[in-house]
């Protein structure tokens, strides 16, 4: 029994492109809206709810789709054992501003519901039927130290067996998502033909999270 916590997989989406683990899937230069739509199409996804989401939920949801694709550990767990802990700097401000614009005319309930950052957690939960621990925290910058402490404790104390955690932030044209699938013990199996390091070989540590956040992937 391995009692350490590992990063089973990671996904970053930013101005430089989309990365799964240390591999660049798509180099990207478009604006956020086009980027999200082309990523949705490139991944061959068919999920009509996607079109109803605000930019923040679209970004976080797409990052979770990339993050969780082909993972072998979550299907072995109960819905209540899988948690989601997300963070950002701008809360739902991008949509708050858009919502307030609708208020002058007719307030839109479809926009209002997205004026909370944790709605993104709800979207990822609905898609994957995850029912475990939820939390959304706001920081001025990505805080890997806090994630290691908080999510590490959730894993160590058995509150969750796996946790999707990280950063998803959108404000106008500025955006960044960096998600980790963290679990206790090495649960991953390498995807066929991949040069990636064996999933689960990366410790769930602030140093590794910071590095992935900065570079999209760990250099070999």
């Amino acid at each position: 029994m391995n009692d350490l916590n590992y990063i089973i997989s990671s996904c970053t989406i930013g101005h430089t492109g989309v990365f799964k683990d240390e591999t660049c899937l798509f180099a990207q230069t478009d604006g956020l809206g086009e980027h999200l739509l082309s990523l949705y199409r490139s991944l061959g996804l068919d999920y009509p709810r996607f079109y109803k989401m605000d930019q923040l939920s679209k970004l976080g949801w797409l990052a979770s789709e990339v993050l969780l694709k082909d993972n072998a550990i979550l299907p072995t767990m109960q819905p209540e054992e899988i948690g989601i802990v997300l963070t950002n700097a701008n809360s739902s401000l991008d949509t708050d501003i858009k919502y307030l614009d609708t208020v002058a005319d007719i307030a839109s309930p479809a926009v209002f519901v997205y004026t909370l950052p944790n709605i993104m957690i709800g979207e990822i939960s609905i898609r994957n039927k995850f029912k475990g621990e939820n939390a959304f925290f706001i920081f001025d910058r990505f805080d890997a130290d806090f994630l290691e402490l908080y999510v590490g404790q959730l894993l160590d104390t058995g509150v969750v067996k796996a946790c999707i955690c990280g950063w998803v932030d959108v404000l106008a044209d500025d955006y960044k998502a960096c998600l980790f699938l963290a679990a206790r013990g090495k649960g991953g199996v390498p995807s066929p033909g991949s040069d990636s390091p064996e999933p689960g070989s990366i410790l769930f540590s602030k140093e590794n999270m910071d590095k992935i956040f900065r570079e999209g992937g760990i250099e070999q």
Binding site: I97, L100, L116, N118, I119, E123, K131, F139, D140
Partner: protein, 388 residues
């Protein structure tokens, strides 16, 4: 596992500036919910529990040096100041962390300040607000901000408990607040969720929520030395997700029921030992029905349940704190408050909605909360009546 004790608390609401003032008004069945006709907030009149116009003057008088803070930040600071005055916890201690809970923070400024205002972006950042409040009290550590819809306050308490148990901190000061402005009110109105009368939780004629404003602070510590008896502990708490809908609760209540049962299991407390449940009870058709199903599924039909929304309205990011603090006051006095606005049982499960002031020994009490995004939370408090 480290025991986590409730050291002090404060509620700053339209009903009063201290927990005692608030609890006294509640025992007298006084509601803060009133009829408001204010075109700046709503084109139609509405019921809500709002601070009155004297608030700014009061805050200025009570918070010397707080003039640089916005109204939202001043509310937090005034509440924190009161809670800190009632204990010996030192903000400048490296082992003390400030946790701020809010759904919208300074977002009302978007309505009043020019969009081009360069200071606006910094002012509306929730972390910025928390940092300014932390600086006001010279907290040594960076603050932590929880923003998880209507379970924020409860999640703040759970987070404080966890951070103390992690060993990183010994003390946690958890403060929550939200203001009601056009932003939030128009949103709930657009959902047709605002009741045309003061809200009536669990009642058969309930017609939705009333909104409310409040700030509240709870101070937790891993040390009980010098605390007055009875000792109140945060035994355990969990959150979870319905994975069903972003703006409506679970149809079955099984997800909330699951975390309630897990919290009890973690704390080695049986359902028959639970003396009282302080529910979310927003008085929307679906929320109250879901909670009733969850309580029924957990096998706690006989446990007295109340909702405080008829007194305070829904205070959003402060709600979990306000209602937990009143739960603790109730435990100290062995009183279960009536559910103001409740007359006729209006949920499909036979749960015990408390409609009158009930005197009962209270040892283990649960606080539940639910919110947009499908989130649920449950926190278990205990009272130790044994003298050391």
């Amino acid at each position: 596992m480290t025991d986590v004790f409730v050291v002090s608390d404060n509620i700053l609401s339209p009903l009063g500036w201290t927990t005692d003032e608030n609890f006294t008004r509640l025992k007298d069945s006084v509601s803060g919910i009133h009829w408001h006709d204010d075109a700046a907030i709503s084109p139609v009149p509405f019921y809500a529990a709002l601070f009155n116009a004297a608030l700014d003057r009061e805050l200025a008088a009570r918070l010397p040096g707080g003039g640089e803070l916005t109204k939202f930040e001043q509310l937090l600071a005034a509440s924190i100041q009161q809670a800190l005055a009632d204990c010996t916890i030192d903000p400048a201690d490296r082992e003390t962390i400030l946790i701020i809970s809010s759904t919208k923070g300074n977002i009302p400024l978007l309505e009043t300040n020019a969009p081009g205002d360069p200071e606006l972006k910094d002012r509306i950042s929730l972390f910025g607000s928390a940092q300014r409040v932390a600086d006001h009290f010279h907290f040594a550590n960076r603050p932590l901000v929880v923003s998880n819809a209507c379970i924020s306050g409860s999640l703040g308490i759970i987070t404080g408990m966890r951070l103390i148990r992690s060993g990183r901190y010994k003390h946690a000061v958890i403060a929550g607040a939200d203001l009601i402005s056009k932003f939030v009110l128009s949103g709930f109105q657009s959902f047709q969720a605002v009741s045309p009368e003061p809200c009536r939780p669990f009642d058969q004629d309930r017609t939705g929520i009333s909104l409310g404003e409040a700030a509240a602070t709870m101070v937790l510590s891993g040390e009980s030395k010098g605390l007055p008896h009875p000792l109140i502990k945060v035994m355990d708490g969990l959150t979870g997700n319905d994975a069903n809908h972003i703006s409506g609760p679970s149809r079955t209540g099984s997800e909330l029921s699951h975390i309630i049962q897990r919290v009890l299991q973690n704390a080695s407390v049986s359902t028959s030992e639970i003396d009282f449940i302080s529910a979310h009870g927003t008085a929307t058709l679906y929320n109250d029905e879901m909670e009733a199903k969850a309580i029924d599924l957990a096998g706690m039909n006989d446990v007295p349940v109340n909702s405080l929304k008829g007194y305070y309205g829904h205070t959003l990011g402060a709600a979990g704190l306000v209602e937990s603090i009143i739960t603790i006051a109730s435990m100290k006095e062995n009183i279960v408050l009536p559910t103001l606005g409740f007359r006729e049982h209006g949920v499909t499960k036979p749960i015990h909605v408390n409609g009158s002031l009930l005197r009962k020994d209270l040892r283990y009490c649960l606080k539940t909360a639910s919110g947009f995004g499908g989130c649920n939370a449950a926190v278990l408090f205990s009272k130790n009546t044994e003298r050391p």
